[in-house]
């Protein structure tokens, strides 16, 4: 803990624009990829940078707890993703012929969705919206760059929710949206009870979404 704090004290600039750039990269991974492994990795990165930004407005110990809670959520999502993958592989083994016929032709291509250009545009729109909002509607009580990070997460989360029907992706979108809100609200309301209840709400939300994702995978499998 002391090492982390000392590092942040020595290089305070990392809690400013580099962290926002990190959030942008994480959002890009979430928006552009369809693989759950990439999503979990992106969330780990996102919670790390959100934790760093938190250190500017709340006590570092509380910021660390928030980051740890975020990584715990990532663990839950990872377990769910693996479970669903395993489930799908079993289903695919049963219909091996079908799997062969839909095997990708260009294996060297990165696993990007077919609507990649549209998603790239959405990512760009997110950044523009976040920047414009931070300039024209600055959030009170927090520095402008932190406000931009909040907007970036909130807009990105909302777009993730709106762009998918998959439970896991919608859940990740809601978590991203809430992390943006938490970054702002943490500065307004430093109460530990509020922090605890928000954290508990986030964790329960992740559990509910993993529950829904497993149900959805079961329904899709039975539908096939």
């Amino acid at each position: 803990m002391d090492t982390i704090l000392a590092f942040i004290e020595q290089y305070p600039f990392i809690t400013a624009m580099p962290s926002i750039a990190g959030l942008f990269v994480a959002l890009g991974m979430l928006l552009l990829s369809e693989r759950w492994q990439v999503h979990v990795l992106a969330l780990i990165v996102l919670y790390f940078f959100v934790g760093l930004l938190h250190t500017r407005v709340i006590r570092p110990e509380v910021a660390l707890v928030k980051a740890l809670m975020g990584w715990l959520i990532c663990l839950a999502l990872h377990v769910t993703g693996r479970y669903i993958d395993q489930h799908r592989k079993e289903g695919a083994r049963k219909a091996e012929e079908t799997v062969k016929s839909v095997a990708p032709r260009y294996r060297w291509l990165p696993p990007l969705p077919p609507d990649g250009p549209l998603r790239s545009l959405v990512l760009l729109v997110t950044v523009v919206l976040a920047y414009a909002a931070a300039v024209y509607f600055p959030l009170p009580q927090i520095p402008r760059d932190l406000g931009m990070a909040c907007y970036l997460l909130a807009v990105g989360g909302l777009l993730l929710v709106g762009m998918s029907e998959s439970s896991l992706r919608v859940g990740i979108g809601l978590l991203v949206f809430l992390s943006g809100f938490d970054l702002f609200y943490g500065a307004l309301e430093p109460s530990l009870v509020v922090t605890g209840l928000l954290g508990a709400g986030n964790f329960l939300l992740a559990l509910a979404m993993t529950f829904l994702a497993i149900s959805q995978a079961t329904v899709e499998e039975k539908g096939v």
């Binding site: 929710v161 809601l174 307004l188 309301e189 829904l212 149900s215 079961t218």
Partner: protein, 474 residues
């Protein structure tokens, strides 16, 4: 003064215990029903302002209590509301005992009752908003208990409830700032945020998609829990906001805004109810109509309007519970979750009657529980705004049309008996509805019609629940 703490913690702890007892089929639901009835009965019968003896110790049920440094306040206004929540929960768990003995509704529903009690008891209101969000998240598990059901119900409900949270929390902070530095833009922003959040939570148009989705894809009894108990908690939380910030109702466009949103929500619900989208969706649309009527009543900003709104909230619960129980009975009798309504009216007559009477109660049809408050609402509006009254009546008529269309399907002959080959076959053997379920449905029917004929109890409780509000009108 531990009454408030007891109402928050006891159901949550009991929910954990009942969850552990799930291996004994039906026992959790019975235990949950017993605890709910006991707590609801205690709230109705025991005095809040005098000490009572419990396990040899004298305790005060009413007053303020502290939990984690936060205040929980149980006063005469909250008493009938909490009693209503627990009694409705008791009836739902009783139906769950027969219709969903291995489901998640009983254990999690009990915990949800504790959390929703916390929503109504906790002060300041940010804790209510946070507890409401946690309760909404927990509701997803019983709502999507069936592994074969599409997940839209839980997904949409959770999404809309989550999006409502920031507005409630930030508005509280804005109003704290306003108390120190009175700045009109702060007030406008806070009002807009509160309005937006409650529109999401109540399913007002255009934030309504979660309402029919919960009815259509969710487990019927869990959907009924959300439509009756959770929605009531949201309504009374809104009342608490109005009580804490009385200038909200004095907002210049209060009446126009709420009346417009209310009428649009009710008319949209009524129109969609006429479409053939299944009985679950019909329940959702009927709830939309009811929510629209509630918003119109709130827009009146008068004591009579609030009392009638509270009565309508109380009257919604028996109708929704009966409708959900009837739907579950129909599904059970058809032998699966994917069912065709054709001919089910003959196979499950009591479930059919329960579903229809519950639906009629939601539409405000006489002589059901929903009629008395609706009659009062139409009467009140007809003198001042006859067009609004007429539109609300038409919206309710849409629900009745939907019910009639469903009744036609339920009573028609199954398709396979109509064909040439089918006519030669003997009709499939039908098992009568289980006796215990029939008894429960008959009790529910008597309750819904009884409350329609003798609505005084509901009206008195509604008046007590709305007694403390500061409103500009009479």
């Amino acid at each position: 003064m531990i009454g408030a703490v007891l109402l928050l913690l006891l159901p949550i702890l009991a929910g954990g215990v009942t969850y552990a007892l799930r291996r004994w089929r039906g026992l959790p639901a019975l235990l949950a029903a017993a605890i709910s009835f006991a707590l609801g009965g205690a709230l109705v019968l025991l005095p809040l302002d005098r000490p009572i003896t419990l396990l040899g110790r004298e305790i005060m049920l009413g007053g303020e209590a502290e939990l984690l440094g936060r205040t929980l306040s149980l006063g005469p206004q909250a008493q009938p509301v909490l009693a209503f929540l627990f009694l409705t929960g008791g009836f739902l768990f009783l139906f769950a005992w027969r219709l969903e003995p291995e489901g998640l509704l009983a254990p999690l529903g009990l915990a949800l009752l504790g959390l929703l009690s916390g929503v109504l008891l906790a002060r300041p209101l940010i804790y209510s908003a946070l507890l409401l969000q946690i309760a909404a998240t927990l509701s997803v598990f019983p709502l999507q208990a069936s592994p074969r059901a599409p997940v839209q119900a839980g997904l949409r409900y959770l999404t809309f409830c989550t999006l409502a949270l920031p507005g409630l929390l930030i508005s509280h902070w804005l109003l704290d700032i306003y108390a120190v530095t009175p700045d009109p833009p702060l007030l406008s922003t806070a009002t807009a945020l509160i309005g937006f959040s409650f529109a999401l939570l109540l399913g007002a148009v255009p934030f309504h998609p979660w309402v029919p989705a919960v009815g259509r894809y969710g487990e019927p009894l869990a959907s009924a829990f959300i439509f009756s108990i959770s929605s009531s908690a949201v309504w009374f939380l809104l009342m608490a906001y109005l009580q804490t910030y009385p200038w909200l109702a004095g907002y210049a466009r209060w009446t126009t805004t709420l009346m417009t949103i209310g009428v649009v929500t009710a008319v949209t619900g009524g129109l969609l109810a006429t479409a053939r989208r299944g009985p679950g969706a019909l329940m959702g649309y009927a709830v939309m109509v009811d929510s629209g009527v509630l918003l119109v009543m709130l827009g009146q900003a008068t004591r009579t309007g609030v009392t009638l709104g509270n009565t309508a909230v109380f009257a919604r619960a028996p109708g929704v519970v009966l409708m959900a129980a009837g739907l579950m009975g129909l599904r059970e009798q058809s032998g699966g979750e994917i069912w065709k309504p054709e001919g089910m009216g003959r196979k499950a007559p009591w479930s059919t009657v329960a579903f229809l009477v519950g639906g009629l109660s939601l539409a405000g049809f006489p002589p059901t529980a929903g009629f008395a408050p609706r009659w009062g609402i139409y009467y009140l509006l007809f003198r001042t705004r006859p067009w609004v009254s007429l539109l609300l009546l038409l919206a309710s008529a849409g629900v009745v049309v939907g019910l009639l269309r469903l009744l036609h399907e339920l009573l028609s002959r199954p398709p396979r008996l109509r064909g040439e080959e089918g006519e030669k076959e003997p009709p499939p053997p039908t098992e009568p509805e289980p006796k215990l379920l029939t008894v429960l449905l008959i009790i529910g029917l008597i309750g819904v019609i009884g409350l329609g004929i003798f609505p005084q109890g509901l009206a008195a409780a509604a008046a007590q629940a709305g007694a403390g509000f500061i409103l500009p009108g009479p």
